[in-house]
């Protein structure tokens, strides 16, 4: 168990709602949910998760900490924002899903090997390196995230797609040795580190 997780357990004891309100993006909205289920019926990936946002909100109120933070449901969010615009009480549901996913990831309670969790980290690390996303390196990192053998298989399976993009000049093989980047990379790195430091301190993750 991570130290941050132990600290959170000690600090909030049996009040998971309070923990979510303090540490999860837009978490203070959770208790406003009136359990209508419109979010559940609006999600494009609805058939693929166990806990709809509506259920997660009730589980938070019922103190089901492990079940919520260990759920892979919020990782099914495609950021389509259907739930936000349809919620009768205007809960920022998409943001809360993102916030729950991030909090679970940072406490290392999110499911290991969850594919969206993995690529979300790869994506952020990619952009934080140069200030801009390097699509080629990001794609390769995704293909090879489960080892070299699997990576070769993945890359071969997507070969036709890659060649199509190459032909259309929408994939630049030279990106591998550099590619687009910001000038003030060092400033950007320091700025991101500072932001993370402030937020981690505020959330007891430092």
């Amino acid at each position: 168990m991570t130290t941050a997780n132990q600290n959170a357990l000690a600090k909030y004891k049996n009040n998971f709602l309070k923990e979510v309100e303090a540490n999860v993006e837009d978490g203070h909205w959770v208790k406003m949910c009136m359990q209508c289920g419109v979010c559940a019926g609006s999600c494009p990936l609805g058939p693929h998760w166990e806990h709809s946002p509506q259920k997660l909100f009730m589980m938070i109120r019922a103190g089901k900490r492990e079940e919520v933070l260990g759920s892979d449901s919020m990782w099914m969010c495609t950021s389509c924002y259907n739930c936000i615009v349809r919620c009768p009480r205007k809960l920022p549901i998409t943001h809360i899903m993102h916030g729950l996913a991030n909090y679970a990831h940072r406490l290392d309670l999110a499911p290991k090997g969850q594919p969206t969790r993995d690529i979300a980290k790869l994506f952020w690390d990619n952009l934080a390196k140069t200030g801009r996303v390097n699509e080629l390196k990001f794609s390769l990192a995704m293909y090879f995230k489960d080892g070299f053998g699997q990576g070769v298989k993945n890359a071969m399976a997507m070969q036709a797609t890659g060649l199509g993009l190459l032909k259309a000049k929408r994939l630049n093989p030279m990106e591998i040795i550099g590619g687009h980047k910001c000038k003030d990379i060092s400033g950007i790195k320091k700025m991101i580190a500072k932001a993370r430091e402030i937020e981690d301190r505020r959330r007891g993750l430092a």
Partner: protein, 298 residues
């Protein structure tokens, strides 16, 4: 004519050699004919897109967007920021609004921005290109430069998610926005009935959950065929890439014979305004938009 000036945020996918580079190509003729001047924000960075939250959390994500707003504020004062990419626009507008609402977040943001030698007063409005075209130019002005109306072309207007939600275009409905259909008609083509117009293509989950996303894409393409469309048009870079690129994967897995071109609204406008196939970025299609190319070559 005095040109309308905007602080332009192109976004990662629109860069040379990236997946949406043909969007930027096609934009040239459009802004030129409409008297718009796009001033690129110097040294802009990535917005974090829709998947940045996982590792990035809230404040780091707000801060990277605040850097772009601060650069626009400082280097291109008085200009609205405009982005062609819905994810860039959404992230920037969300940042602008959240920092306007929460003084403590703005203070924290500025503490981090100081590390990059910047400060944000949060005065810049973040807008999407379609908003600028519709609200600042208007439908009459968008129609005026049409020299090659796209007569006979049947097009499915696929708005997708993030151009439409949670902000969208003022006055439009989230469930059945009409502006893209109106754009199709403005350039002389026919907008077909299209019930998948605001469906989700899977977004970034096209990478992590390919089967689930390809189910979405299959519905989006199938409906275009069912409604007799020659092509799909979209304002979104990720929708364009997902819906075009994965058709061959879906064909492999399900024995379908999808070959539905997917273009940007700016490509339609570029051709209708007299741009060549090259100027409209049509050489950037993985699935060739033959009927649109034919109009360009007329």
């Amino acid at each position: 004519m005095v040109k309308k000036q905007y602080a332009f945020y192109p976004g990662c996918s629109s860069q040379k050699g990236a997946t949406a580079s043909n969007f930027l190509t096609s934009l040239d003729v459009v802004v030129d004919k409409l008297g718009i001047q796009l001033n690129e924000i110097p040294d802009w960075n990535c917005c974090g897109a829709s998947i940045g939250y996982g590792e990035g959390g809230e404040l780091p994500r707000l801060v990277i967007n605040a850097r772009n707003l601060a650069l626009a504020e400082k280097e291109l004062p008085g200009q609205d920021m405009v982005s062609g990419c819905p994810a860039c626009w959404l992230a920037t507008r969300e940042t602008h609004e959240r920092l306007a609402e929460h003084a403590s977040l703005l203070a924290e943001t500025n503490e981090a921005l100081k590390e990059a030698g910047l400060k944000l007063n949060n005065t810049v409005k973040a807008r999407h290109m379609t908003e600028v075209l519709i609200e600042d130019l208007g439908w009459e002005a968008l129609k005026a430069p049409v020299v090659k109306p796209l007569e006979g072309l049947k097009i499915a207007g696929y708005v997708g998610c993030q151009t439409n939600r949670p902000f969208g275009i003022a006055g439009e409905s989230f469930e059945n926005p009409k502006y893209l259909d109106k754009m199709i008609e403005t350039v002389g083509a026919e907008a077909v009935r299209y019930e998948q117009k605001v469906a989700c293509c899977g977004g970034a989950l096209a990478f992590s959950e390919p089967d689930k996303s390809q189910k979405q894409i299959r519905d989006i393409v199938e409906s275009a065929y069912d409604n007799g469309a020659d092509m799909i048009v979209t304002p979104c870079q990720l929708c364009q890439a997902n819906v075009e690129i994965y058709q061959s994967e879906i064909n492999k897995k399900h024995g379908t014979k999808f070959s539905m071109p997917v273009v940007y609204y700016t490509q339609l406008m570029s051709v209708a305004y007299g741009g060549s196939a090259g100027q409209a970025g049509l050489d950037g299609q993985v699935i060739k938009a033959d009927k649109l190319e034919a109009v360009a070559k007329k």
